[in-house]
């Protein structure tokens, strides 16, 4: 049921070192890739069915194929690979432990992907708030240079690659790929209007692939195992293995690497279920920007299609599970405060809408709202959704719209009598007074 590939050796004391990685066939895929035609590598990744693990699920090989090649026009400009390691979506906690435990799989994936798209300069943009992860990736890159995997004429192939580890400075919006590019260029991280897309006009207006950490780190295994091996796992349109991150009121929160399409029921069975004496109230399939689901959705296949049909999105597979001690109004208010704080301010509906929704939800939690406020919230969401440059605004509406749809009675209860929940009961340290 579980298929550890990326996480298979995290329990070894030196899993993050180049010795630990090469002991398990690390950098063998690089040797194989450098002896392969770059276009054949792009076809291989297309055939594997690998889809972007950063949330959107766009086919990775297709993204690589969009990069213009040849001596004319955009193709003649330098090409860049940028790894999005700005993991910040609430609930999402897979790339950070991955980079801590196995950074060389990412570095090897970067070299292979850069060779495939013909980039001689690559960047790993890591959120700044995880110092030890930055260290581990910096040192993995240093070790890879020392081993001749990076630099000029890599292993006599004639291929050159410089890899820079770049730390961000605290801005959720920089996980959005065009905001990330602006940030990497030294500007405020604000999304760009598309088209043109990064594939033709990305970093420094040059052809650029932006891929999530887990997507790139999956590439060496595809090169070694082949497209059929990778696509033997998963479902019809969602191929391969992936990291599911279970958190919240579950007995064993953590990382579970499984084929796409496993269900939350199966994962909860493995994790020992919800904590003692409590039941699942609501959960996010892929971070706070994906609409909430409930115990009615335990058997939804956790792949791109299955979660989509259930009215939500697979997102980053960040399964935040909340039990019946949790106040949904409090949860939704806190997420909305997050979006208001992180809105970059470029688009009016998102900037102003999130600000006002916080005010309304505060009234609701404080017991001074009216039933009309529910409709005002939904109307505001309607005016944000689809009306901003990027998906942050859309994401901000997800917890509110889904929360009201699933728990309208609880919102009304707050309006009529304030919050009925004891916040102490939902903590992991229970009755311990702060």
């Amino acid at each position: 049921m579980l298929t550890p590939v990326l996480s298979a050796h995290w329990d070894e004391a030196d899993s993050f070192s180049i010795d630990g990685y090469t002991r398990h066939r690390g950098y063998e895929a690089l040797t194989k890739a450098l002896a392969t035609d770059p276009d054949a590598l792009i076809s291989l990744v297309k055939d594997s069915g690998l889809r972007g693990r950063g949330g959107a699920g766009f086919p990775t090989g297709m993204k690589w194929g969009f990069i213009p090649q040849g001596p004319e026009g955009q193709g003649a400009k330098p090409h860049y690979l940028v790894v999005n390691a700005d993991e910040s979506e609430p609930g999402t906690c897979k790339d950070v432990p991955f980079m801590l435990a196995n950074p060389h799989a990412l570095v090897e994936g970067v070299i292979i992907a850069s060779y495939a798209i013909r980039a001689n300069h690559a960047f790993i943009y890591i959120r700044g708030e995880v110092t030890h992860v930055v260290r581990r990736v910096q040192e993995a890159v240093q070790q890879a240079y020392a081993a001749g995997h990076l630099g000029k004429d890599i292993h006599g192939s004639g291929f050159d690659l410089e890899l820079v580890v770049h730390a961000g400075a605290g801005a959720y919006i920089c996980g959005e790929e065009t905001a990330l590019l602006d940030s990497l260029e030294g500007y405020r991280g604000q999304p760009r209007l598309r088209p043109p897309f990064p594939a033709t006009h990305g970093l420094y207006a040059c052809p650029t692939v932006v891929n999530n950490v887990e997507s790139i780190a999956s590439v060496p295994s595809i090169v070694l195992g082949g497209a059929e091996w990778f696509s033997s796992m998963g479902t019809e349109k969602s191929k391969g293995y992936t990291l599911y991150s279970l958190s919240g009121h579950v007995k064993k929160p953590g990382q579970y690497e499984a084929p796409l399409g496993i269900t939350l029921r199966q994962l909860l069975d493995l994790a020992g279920g919800m904590r003692e004496g409590r039941t699942l109230k609501f959960w996010t399939p892929g971070g706070s920007s994906t609409p909430l689901l409930t115990a009615d959705h335990l058997d939804v296949p956790l792949d791109y299609e299955g979660v989509g049909e259930a009215g939500s999105m697979l997102g980053t597979k960040a399964l935040q599970c909340f039990d019946d001690t949790t106040c949904v109004v409090r949860a939704v208010l806190r997420w909305t405060e997050f979006y208001a704080h992180e809105s970059c301010g470029k688009c009016t509906p998102c900037r102003e809408g999130t600000y006002w929704m916080v005010q309304i939800l505060e009234r609701m939690e404080g017991g001074t709202a009216t039933e009309a406020d529910i409709e005002i919230l939904l109307d505001t969401c309607d005016n944000i959704f689809g009306r901003s440059f990027c998906a942050l605004g859309d994401g901000a509406t997800s917890p509110i719209v889904s929360g009201i749809k699933l728990f309208r009675d609880e919102f009304i209860q707050h309006i009529n009598g304030g919050c009925p929940f004891d916040p102490v009961a939902s903590t992991v340290f229970g009755g311990v007074k702060a």
Binding site: H132, H166, E185, R330
Partner: protein, 243 residues
Amino acid sequence: MADQSTSLGMPATTVVPDGVAPLTDETRREAREIIARYPRSRSALLPMLHLVQSVQGYVSPAGIALCAEELELTKAEVGAVATFYTMYRRRPAGTYHVGVCTNTLCAVLGGDALFATAKEHLGIGNNETTADGTVSLEHIECNAACDYAPVVMVNWEFYDNQDPASLRSLLDGCQAGNPPAPTRGPSRLVSFKEMSRVLAGFNDGLGQEGVPAGPPSLVGLDIAKQRGDVAPSYPAASTSTEA
């Protein structure tokens, strides 16, 4: 000692407050080292601002001026970037900068109680620093460690699975200058300024210290091993390297 170079009634821009180290020729040399890493100079701005914080503990007006000069930007252009990102501080951080996650999942699991504990124990509020300059405090957004909730960061190192008692002892350690080691990090907690150098791209060699993964990161792997679950092995034909 007002800066005489400004004449528009604007606040002086290069005065160094008491107790803040000045930027030196060495800072400027390192800034140029950062610039050399990038195809275009302006890409160096974020790491350069981390470098300024590694010397001064915050992004000072002098630091903004240095970045502007080296990148041939205006101070307004640099200031506009510095104020966009929450990790750049406008006042000096404490030697130990404490962040308590109060995003939804951590908040519900105890982060709100922890933040209240920290404020009460230190006697300071959000975005404030203790009078002796040792500890600054803020509540933070999701730090990608939800399976370790509730989470506290000090100098952006992980202190996982906290409770009020463990947090109080962590804060006492910070105030006494001997904080416990991070749960997933090096064997010694480095200062805010030392940490900022790492973010500027000057590795401190501590990456090989500490655990590869904490217990929740290994939960799935452990269960897979108990059950005998493995990924399919690579097919024989494609395992031999062709090169």
